[in-house]
Symmetry: C2
Subunit: 575 residues, 2 copies
């Protein structure tokens, strides 16, 4: 059974199932969302208007038994950055959509009335229903209510109150196997879903299986692939401490942005480290290892319990913990966990919102270190949509404008995440040149700059950074198209059996004959498609720059500034 | 005595008086501010950071007896638009600066501490003083206090609380001969002055006179020039009803943007018209005619009194009255006058802020027509810098983002003023192509599209609009360099004695031999300099567009959309 496009028109409330055009047949995940957005969305349109489209696509291997293949891509023109945007997430929906025969959901138009709707999707198509009960409700309640209303086996893609209020930091949340939340965090795609007046998309469970052309070859390749992942030492560290293993590592490297990017080290790093988190989780009978989708062999997620040993949050990531922790000088892991829970429930990107809090602290809205103040503003302002809540929910750039702050760590108006580009120059190239605004996942040079994966490139040198970022951005665009978790990259870079096994799986799945060069070409093609969209929207190389304070303010302990020439940055695109 | 550059460095609190470089010798007003900004300001700098500069320059004829030559130009990179910006204003300062031998004040850098300062300027230079008493005070109190502290003859250039709070709609206010306020309104230049921590600039009175090379020729030319102004019927209408004569005219043309740009006519137009205003002023013993600087022969300003015949506001302009009136559906002239007074006192651009209120009304912050609500928010929120106040003080685009509104009438993030571009297509070309964001004064096609001045171009046709806007934008850039009020344009377009007399005055003042072509070339050169700055800042032709709702929503009564092709818009720059 060939996969189909499930198209939803919210202007006239119609849906249809379409054959996949030839030019999209070989695509999935980010490769597909970016190509659909580039083909069908006017680059200069208002991101929250009827001319934007929200595209949701599983990856090429989603729904198969391939290890770690459960990422779901969401794409649109971003209300935060104005660029094309793809944000991907774990959870169960990618695998369910693939099994339901969905190549992509394309949501277009906008209702003429003020009603809210939900979508219900099965293999035959999509039904649009009016929704009233869950409007204004948090993501946790949405999932619990839908578990009761529809059954626990349903998949859920939902927005919280932030998405309903069209905040530019609003994310799209995906139910995971434990009925918790994973997020397509970056770029405000929850606001796009909110602008289309869709509260949630329910996916009917299915017993269908994804077709695999050559099942035996697939099985053998998957075995080799999974072994490469499991054997990798970084996979193992991620399994033990989660991504938060990085707090001490990045602090040691002098690149942990602290107090709104005024220092590279945080006195309170031990209190918020992965090691402390692990001990806390174990002591409180949480789960240090946990998967966000079936088939994950790395298990970087966790269940973090409160002092009463009750569930507090999950998917508690380094970037979130850094942002509220070092970024805002909050050295209390329980406060950060509480904020993380509320952010997930409201449906807000933890990175964007927490960096926004750092800028707000600099602007005098609250004191650095005031974790209780952060929680209060989340509950009293953002949840209720007060003016202060809307300022902070609008992201870090927005907070800078409101309070006249000039030290605003954003590129293309998206908050810079957890690695200071002055002290790790490769990631600065990624922030500057990414088609999506500042985003570490677009070309994670930390692997090579800090972790020694895929070679060694001195983080403080200017040498080799552009090539490193370029190679990783190209590879990442391809990986984001497979449905694979980006954390396969550590094994892919260091274990020569990993990438061939991944290509073997793709070939066995579709009975094709991709080579490594084909995969590389796919990545390049995606980047160029995304950049062409941005250029047509009015972006230029002048947007591929870090904020000027990085050039002017040296950061301790290395006392270095961002000193990459504009021409060198622009040479990124020489391919 | 040759004019000098008065340079103030707020980083090290030093000042110096410099000779004028040759390349700036023939410039004044906008021609000078834009050339200084283009030469000395990095186009990609943060507009509120230490790398931006604030440039203040009288025009080429300022300080002479030339009629209507009292405009002062302020320039910088704009925190509202990100473009180069020149905003000019009446008041007494241009003439005083010219007499003090000031070619331009260039303010650069930023204090290292949190102190506030004032500048005091005389013919010998500038003194920097710490200021405490007037910090947080409104513009009216600043002027009254300085009148008492320094004497009524001092000139004052000041910012209100909005500029101190670095709101993007903050203006720079200039004391007029009656100790009232004129404003360099657009583009947030008050925030730039606030970022440099300068509350006000006091100008010492002088008995100096501006050198005139050929006094007799100058006198004769000025006589002819003033006669052309006085004889012009539009000058006369402006003298009687003020600029607000336009409410009924533009309403009749179906181009009075109403209810946040959803209609072209306002039911309450009579209540807010120039005719009603005139009758009210006369009945309350105000002044229907009033000049904003010595030597004005048009007298479009007025003193508007309240119901107790006490001063309420002055310089009560059509664009301000339209914006709060039709734009926000407030049909009560006293409420609009009260708001105008508060806006002047806070130091906020009436156009930007009032259009922002219209967007806020659409976003549900208050009801359309709620003039009392506007006044309350001005007093309780903007004056106090609450989060809501900061959202609205950040301008219309900012309000749209905060409340998820998509009908946001801005170009390059600056609010579109009082003429709907769907029904008057020439002004749409000006809004789209202006180097400074949407601004009617940059190329006032209303003259020809509606008032029949300088020919006739059908406002609803696409024909001839680009040429009209181009010719007017070029002429305006030149006029803005002379220190002349833009209202000389009506006579200049229709009375063949006017423009030659103006050129004769320039030639007699400097003993030069400018021709009409030279003036035209000056205008073209200024536009190209400004555009080059913007391109270097990252702007492209994609920024020369109106918001998409103008293309999609027909406006009553003509039921027309904005339908100018992008290529036609871009042909504006073919010169």
């Amino acid at each position: 059974m060939a996969d189909k496009i499930f198209r939803v028109n919210m202007s006239d409330l119609t849906t249809r199932v379409e054959d996949v055009p030839n030019e999209w047949a070989g695509l999935g995940g980010r490769g597909l969302t970016s190509n659909v957005v580039a083909a069908e969305v006017e680059p200069t349109c208002h991101p929250l208007g009827k001319n934007n489209k929200l595209v949701i696509a599983p990856g090429m291997l989603s729904g198969t038994p391939a290890a770690n293949s459960g990422r779901l891509s969401c794409g649109a023109k971003s209300p935060l950055t104005g660029t094309i945007k793809e944000s991907n997430s774990g959870g169960s929906s990618a695998q369910m959509l693939a099994k339901l025969g969905v190549k992509a959901i394309i949501i277009e138009g906008m209702p003429q009335d003020d009603k809210w709707y939900s979508l219900q999707l099965n293999a035959d198509g999509v039904t649009i229903n009016e929704e009233t009960e869950l409007i204004g409700k948090g993501n946790y309640e949405v999932i619990q209510t839908l578990n009761a209303r529809l059954g626990e086996k349903f998949g859920v893609i939902t927005i919280g109150p932030a998405g309903e209020m069209k905040m530019a930091a609003a994310n799209i949340s995906i139910k995971d196997p434990g009925s918790r939340i994973r997020s397509s965090g970056r770029g405000g795609l929850g606001a796009v879903m909110g602008s289309k007046k869709i509260k949630f998309i329910a996916l009917e469970p299915t017993d269908n299986k994804v077709d695999i052309a050559k099942p035996e070859e697939f099985k053998a390749a998957n075995r080799a692939f999974a072994k490469a992942l499991v054997d990798n030492p970084i996979s193992q560290a991620l399994g033990q401490y989660g991504t938060n293993v990085l707090v001490n590592i990045i602090n040691e490297a002098g690149a942990l942005p602290t107090r709104n990017f005024t220092s590279g080290q945080f006195d309170g790093h031990e209190e918020i480290s992965g090691e402390t988190m692990y001990d806390t989780i174990v002591a409180r009978e949480g789960k240090p290892k946990h998967n966000c989708h079936a088939g994950c062999v790395i298990n970087c997620s966790q269940i973090y319990n409160d002092k009463d040993n009750k569930y507090k949050t999950s998917g508690f990531e380094y970037e979130s913990i850094w942002a509220l922790g070092a970024g805002c000088c909050v050295d209390n892991l329980d406060q950060i966990a509480e904020a993380d829970y509320i952010l997930d429930d409201l449906g807000l990107d933890t990175i964007e919102t927490s960096v926004a809090f750092g800028v707000a602290m600099e602007g005098g809205v609250l004191d650095f270190g005031d974790g209780a103040g952060v929680i209060r503003i989340l509950q009293e302002d953002i949840a209720k949509g007060t003016p202060l809540g809307r300022i902070i929910g609008g992201g870090a750039g927005n907070v800078g404008k409101a309070f006249g702050v000039t030290r605003v760590p954003v590129v293309k108006n998206q908050a810079i995440p957890a690695y200071d580009p002055r002290a790790i120059k490769g990631i600065g190239i990624t922030y500057a040149t990414s088609t999506q605004g500042a985003d570490h996942t677009m070309g994670y040079t930390i692997a090579t700059n800090i972790l020694g994966v895929g070679g060694n490139v001195d983080p403080l040198s200017k040498e080799g950074q552009v090539e490193l970022s370029r190679n990783l951005q190209i590879a990442t665009a391809a990986i984001d198209s497979t449905g694979m978790c980006l954390f396969i990259a550590f094994a892919a870079l260091d274990d020569e059996t990993c990438l061939p096994a991944l290509i073997d799986m793709l070939n066995a799945r579709f009975d094709i004959a991709l080579t490594g060069d084909d995969v590389n070409n796919l990545g390049m093609s995606i980047l160029k498609t995304e950049r062409a969209f941005n250029m047509a929207a009015g972006f230029t190389s002048k947007d591929d720059r870090l904020p000027e304070f990085f050039n002017e303010e040296p950061i301790a302990p290395h006392n270095v500034v961002w000193d990459m020439d504009d021409k060198i940055i622009d040479s990124f695109w020489d391919f």
